[in-house]
């Protein structure tokens, strides 16, 4: 994955960058699968590797394939990235050991769900039961978010009229 990320940063051809992004997503999905998070892994493979790759390719069809040369020197973004990375690594020291059953994440509501799902809903897949039943409001909200994304794209892209010759050029460059 590190190699893929370095490739994404170095390569100027956006087509290759999109493909590397897809590879990264698939590796991520594999890791999630190994960690037994099958639901998340499936989503990552379908959305991250499949859908976003296709959408980015479709976007490339609307824009140019070569990445433009950066306008600003990379010092500030680099510093922000390094700082964030350092903060995350510093915070990860305090995390409980991986798979520790007494970690705070496993003691809060998880035992409650595990104990109550079968008698209350009879749904063997606890993830589905929590998502759709116990957290039904949240999932309704998520569905609404996707709905909003859909109508947002419709509002932005479908309203486009046939571009006049002069403005069509400039649209292609700013997009």
């Amino acid at each position: 994955m590190v190699a893929v990320v370095i490739g994404i940063v170095r390569v100027r051809n956006l087509f290759a960058v999109v493909m590397l992004g897809g590879i990264y997503s698939f590796l991520m999905a594999t890791i999630l699968y190994v960690l037994d998070a099958v639901d998340v892994s499936m989503t990552e493979a379908a959305v991250g590797a499949g859908m976003s790759t296709v959408l980015l390719l479709a976007t490339l069809a609307l824009t140019k394939v070569r990445e433009a040369a950066p306008v600003h020197p990379p010092a500030l973004p680099l510093a922000v990235a390094l700082l964030t990375g350092a903060a995350l690594i510093y915070a990860s020291v305090d995390l409980p050991p991986f798979g520790d059953p007494s970690g705070p994440g496993h003691r809060h509501v998880a035992p409650e769900y595990i104990a109550r799902v079968m008698p209350e809903t009879g749904v063997p897949n606890i993830v589905t039961a929590v998502l759709a039943s116990y957290r039904g409001y949240d999932t309704l909200g998520e569905t609404t978010v996707i709905f909003t994304a859909g109508i947002g794209v419709l509002a932005l892209l479908v309203g486009r009229r046939r571009p006049r010759k002069a403005t069509g050029k400039s649209n292609g460059e700013t997009a």
Binding site: G50, V54, G122, S133, G136, I146, F147, R162, P163
Partner: protein, 145 residues
């Protein structure tokens, strides 16, 4: 797009039914196995997009018209919200599935299934809407949109 590649066309034709079937399996089996409406919706949309990539977007629009796709976007949210309202009408709380079936567990199963259908419809509709919007050149919009 890739009209002349025979191997690609044949392979895609062979792959489409399993992908769609798998999406439906993930959809209907979400109670028992991994997955649910979201994953199934994305898989189904991916099947259509694969078809569009190989056979061309106009061909895909003939199979799954733009109007249907656009209608699916709000329809899923309405299904989801409708399940909640149905719970209200049957005397429960909003999105309380226990009252939907004869037994509480049956109601939970039915409610989760219906809600997942809502998620499926919205997700696949939105994915295809976005794809159609991105993949159509501005010149096509006048005739197709």
């Amino acid at each position: 797009m890739l009209h002349d590649t025979v191997i690609l066309r044949v392979v895609v034709k062979l792959m489409l039914p399993p992908i769609l079937l798998y999406a439906l399996y993930v959809q209907a089996h979400g109670d028992y196995g991994p997955g649910g409406g979201f994953q199934a919706g994305v898989s189904a949309a991916a099947a259509i997009i694969l078809y569009a990539l190989v056979f061309g977007v106009p061909e895909a629009r003939r199979v799954v018209p733009l109007a249907v796709v656009r209608a699916m976007v709000p329809l899923g949210v309405l299904i989801y919200g409708g399940v909640g309202v149905a719970g209200l009408l049957l005397g429960g709380n909003y999105l309380d599935y226990n009252v939907l079936g004869a037994t509480a567990k049956g109601g939970q199963h039915l409610g989760i299934l219906l809600v997942e259908v809502g998620v499926f419809v919205t997700v696949s509709g939105t994915m295809l809407t976005i794809f159609y919007s991105f993949s159509s050149k501005p010149e096509d919009e006048g005739s197709a949109g």
